[in-house]
Amino acid sequence: MASDTPDLSIEEIRKQLEAQAEARWGPEYVEEHGDLLELAASYVVNVGNSLPATETEPGFYQ
């Protein structure tokens, strides 16, 4: 599948998730849950980078 949006960076997404996790559960959480945050970031990136190109699916309902 192709996407016409630029590829999301896993590092960028992970930083965003770390910031959210720190705000919710504190800095220790981020230190102790590196694997979970890495996995979550990979899901976000993979989903984001798998969206159909707009010429294939320009509308959400097609």
């Binding site: 899901y43 798998s50 959400f60």
Partner: protein, 452 residues
């Protein structure tokens, strides 16, 4: 004559109708087996012997009055996430440990209407997710029975119940079925109501059926299928006569073997060889086996399933979790935390991608009578700290297509192996007819030696 514990649902129902087996005698024998094996296998949370015998007596009375349902007098176990009026439904969690529902889940009520006797509540992993339960695999107690429908699968494999209900959000029915050497059916999403079922993820959760024959899967499916306005995900699709539909697929089928890519790449060498051998045997028996390839949209299906499951799971648990996070098991806790962190837009895009691969997988499944693949990447791991790998189920659950697992042999270390079939949405008759033909062609009767 076989001991009654070894009877299939169809055989037991026939004997009961013919007066050769009484519901109370049958239930009593199963309760005695539970007493004998429960310490070893830990399959049950709640058994109310008195209630079981009372319900069995009611079935006897109904039969005397000439009222025989599809499952008259046949006991069924329930994963402990199905509401049972007046009986605890704990989800094997601390959060629900004292919860006693006031009504039966719709599917439980429909089983009772068909004449089933509710045998008890079977062990589930906590909230039907991935922290292992105490249940043990009857083929070898050092191996996981899988999950999350662990107790239900163990009970059926060890002859403590002829049938049990499970559920599947990722791989929680078909994977433990494979690990325990029994048949597991995950119907089409929406086919069976979830009203009165403790949820994991509302757009994925599917009621599952655990039995010892494909025919029995059809009997339970018939008893429970149909629209329920109480479940927003319940389909309005007409319910066919599944036996009649199966009979339309009683000849040698056309099977699409998913040999290249995802399923074989993730399997052990032993599972790859075994699946090829199964395909060869089915072909020799008359099936047409063609190789088919997964569509490109499938590649993101496993990740989509995790995103949707974790976000919806977090939404369901959010309120409890805010105040009682320490009462959750570590894996469920991690799932919820991940769900709380994943962006809303990612969740919505995941749902969008589901539509795409559901469409593509449906088109692929329409090319054949059923798609054929290994049921699991490997047999049940020798590790009680895991419930195994749901990778071969999760994409189908996410797509909503029906799948069934059929036992197909034993591994070198004596653990069950299985194959999985998939068909287009709402084509369970086609799926089960095809699987029954394959089951008969393979001609196996797998039973765990210590419990047979």
């Amino acid at each position: 004559m076989a001991d009654s514990y070894a009877l299939s649902v169809a055989e037991a129902a026939a004997r009961i109708r013919n007066g050769n087996l009484t519901p109370t005698g049958y239930a009593g024998e199963l309760l005695d087996r539970i007493d004998s094996f429960e310490e070893d296998l830990q399959a049950w949370v709640t058994i109310d012997r008195e209630a079981v015998i009372t319900e069995a007596k009611e079935r006897e009375l109904q039969l005397e009055q000439g009222s025989a349902g599809l499952m008259s007098g046949v006991p069924v176990g329930l994963k402990d996430i199905f509401y049972t009026a007046g009986m605890k439904t704990t989800a094997c969690s601390r959060i629900y440990e004292d919860f006693v529902p006031e009504y039966d889940a719709t599917c439980v009520a429909r089983l009772r209407e068909a004449g089933a006797v509710i045998l008890g509540k079977a062990v589930t992993t906590e909230f039907a997710t991935s922290d292992p339960s105490p249940s043990r695999n009857p083929w070898n107690r050092d191996h996981t029975p899988g999950g999350s429908s662990s107790g239900s699968s163990v009970a059926v494999a060890a002859g403590m119940a002829p049938a049990a209900l499970g559920s599947q959000t990722g791989g929680s029915t078909c994977r433990p079925a494979a690990y325990n050497g029994i048949v597991g059916l995950k119907p089409t999403y929406g086919r069976i109501s979830r009203y009165g079922v403790v949820p994991v993820s509302w757009s994925l959760d599917t009621v599952g059926i655990l039995v010892r024959t494909v025919n029995d899967a059809a009997i339970l499916l018939q008893a429970m299928s149909g629209h329920d306005p109480n479940d927003p995900g319940s389909a309005e699709e007409a319910v066919p006569d599944f036996m009649e539909e199966m009979n339309r697929y009683s000849g040698p089928p056309r099977l699409g073997l998913l040999k290249r890519g995802y399923f074989f790449d993730r399997s052990t060498e032993e599972v790859r060889r075994h699946t090829e051998e199964v395909a060869r045997r089915l072909s020799e028996a008359g099936a047409t086996v063609v190789e088919v390839e997964l569509p490109p949209s499938f590649s993101v299906a496993p990740d989509v399933q995790r995103v949707v499951m974790n976000v919806e799971c977090a939404a369901f648990h959010e309120e409890f979790f805010r105040h009682r996070a320490d009462e959750y098991g570590p894996r469920l806790r991690a799932n919820i935390e991940m769900g709380l962190l994943i962006p809303t837009v990612t969740y919505l895009q995941a749902q969008r991608l589901r539509r795409e691969f559901r469409r593509d997988l449906t088109a692929l499944a329409q090319e054949v009578d059923a798609l054929l693949m290994p049921a699991t990447p490997a047999p049940a791991p020798r590790d009680l700290n895991t419930t195994g790998d749901a990778a071969f189920q999760a994409p189908w659950t996410s797509a909503g297509l029906p799948t069934v697992v059929v036992p197909s042999g034993l591994s070198q270390d004596g653990m069950p192996l299985g194959v999985q079939f998939a068909a287009p949405p709402f084509e369970e008759g086609q799926l089960l007819g095809t699987a029954r033909w394959c089951e008969q062609a393979l001609g196996l009767d797998l039973r765990p030696p210590d419990y047979s």
